[in-house]
């Protein structure tokens, strides 16, 4: 995994100084620097609050794994290992990823003309073994992250209540939501730039 100071998107795409994509990214310097600043805010925060580094990287590895991008998922799994996670937690993230894979986006619309586009599929609930290994707080985060990754239009107030019940504060939920949503961006920026570089 690149160090926290190296540009993560550049590293994951394989953008080297002086390359054509380096020049293209340089034309949008704030987008480049501030995507990196977001990564740092979410994965090396100066004020981590109640969300631990292990929780941040566990969610990160899970979310990237759900996107099917093994290289990016491995970089977050590496971050998880460096945060001092137990072997059991790393194993739990892998088991959760294996049991939670799906294809998105799916979900329901508000009842009305768009109901004909409804694609109703289940929400992820961590299996007993995974739930036991993750513990209730992280299991709730993974269940929520799965909804955000694959079927965000199924979001409800009840999903937020489930996080509150599992010990996530309002501010923690904002951070968790930003982690999942940001990675939904980062994974796609990397996938898109790889294709543009002719390196799918």
């Amino acid at each position: 995994m690149p160090g926290l100071d190296a540009d993560v998107i550049d590293a994951l795409v394989g953008i080297t100084p002086g390359s054509p994509l380096d020049a293209i990214r340089a034309r949008r310097p704030q987008a480049r620097a501030q995507a990196q600043a977001t990564y740092q805010a979410l994965f090396a925060p100066t004020e981590p609050g109640n969300v631990s580094a292990q929780e941040r990287f566990a969610v990160g590895a899970f979310v990237c794994g759900l996107h099917g991008d093994t290289a990016i998922a491995a970089s977050y799994a590496d971050g998880l290992a460096k945060s001092g996670a137990s072997a059991a937690l790393k194993e739990a993230v892998e088991a959760a990823t294996a049991e939670a894979r799906a294809h998105g986006p799916y979900g329901r619309y508000p009842a009305g003309p768009l109901s004909r586009e409804d694609d109703v599929r289940p929400s992820y609930r961590a299996g007993a073994a995974v739930h036991g290994m993750l513990g209730p707080r992280l299991a709730a985060a993974f269940e929520h992250a799965h909804m955000l990754v694959f079927h965000p239009r199924d979001a409800t107030q009840a999903a937020l209540q489930a996080l509150l019940d599992a010990g996530w504060s309002t501010t923690d939920i904002v951070t968790l939501s930003q982690i999942v949503a940001f990675l939904s961006f980062q994974v796609r920026a990397v996938a898109g730039l790889r294709a543009l570089a002719g390196r799918p």
Binding site: Q30, A31, T46, A155, A181, A191, G192, L193
Partner: protein
């Protein structure tokens, strides 16, 4: 402490994609204006955003919000060549239509229509969905955005080639990628932290 889910007021929720102005109602408590520190206020970047419950909710993690806002602005507003603003907004609208974010789609459909003056085509995208025929250049941008929005992503060299054939250079293609990727971020926040509502009467 304000750690409860907020009840939605009795307001009409939109049931179709629209270019009309919508409100967004938070499901979690935004920071109260009077409780915001200098750091919270600075994270809004634009002082006027203090009126927005969405941004006051995201300001609970100010470093993430501030960096996200600067990323957003450069992807959409940077005027240095690349993809015209109208088509950056088209990519945002197509992504929002595909993911099902009525609120995001409304805002960016308005921008796409304003900058392109192609209201009929924008409405066709909203009404018929991402398979609407909008002419090859717009079709290529919509198809690329949709492929990128799929999870796992279905974006590949064929989308790059189609965009090149439609006349986009590599900076413009990078702009399509960033605008579409960014709305996978925005849609997930807007969809999961609150809901759209018809604007309150005057």
């Amino acid at each position: 402490m304000s750690d409860t889910v907020l009840k939605s007021p009795e307001r009409t929720a939109p049931t179709v994609f629209t270019r009309a102005q919508l409100d967004w109602l938070p499901w979690l408590e935004p920071l109260a204006v009077e409780a915001m520190t200098e750091r919270h206020l600075a994270s809004l970047v634009d002082a006027a955003r203090v009126k927005s419950p969405y941004f006051r909710l995201l300001a609970r993690d100010p470093d993430a919000l501030e960096a996200r806002t600067h990323t957003d602005k450069d992807i959409f507003y940077n005027p240095d060549a690349g993809l015209p603003r109208a088509e950056r907004e088209l990519a945002a609208t197509a992504t929002s239509r595909f993911n099902g974010c009525l609120y995001c789609a409304s805002v960016h459909a308005r921008h796409a229509a304003t900058y392109s003056r192609r209201e009929t085509d924008v409405d066709r995208l909203l009404d018929a969905g991402v398979s609407a025929d909008l002419g090859e250049r717009w079709n290529a941008i919509v198809a690329a955005s949709v492929a990128l929005a799929a999870t796992p992503s279905a974006f590949g060299p064929e989308h790059v080639e189609r965009l090149r054939r439609a006349g986009l250079d590599d900076l413009a293609i990078s702009d399509v990628i960033h605008a579409a990727a960014f709305f996978n971020w925005a849609n997930r926040l807007m969809l999961s932290l609150g809901q759209p509502a018809a604007t309150a009467g005057p």
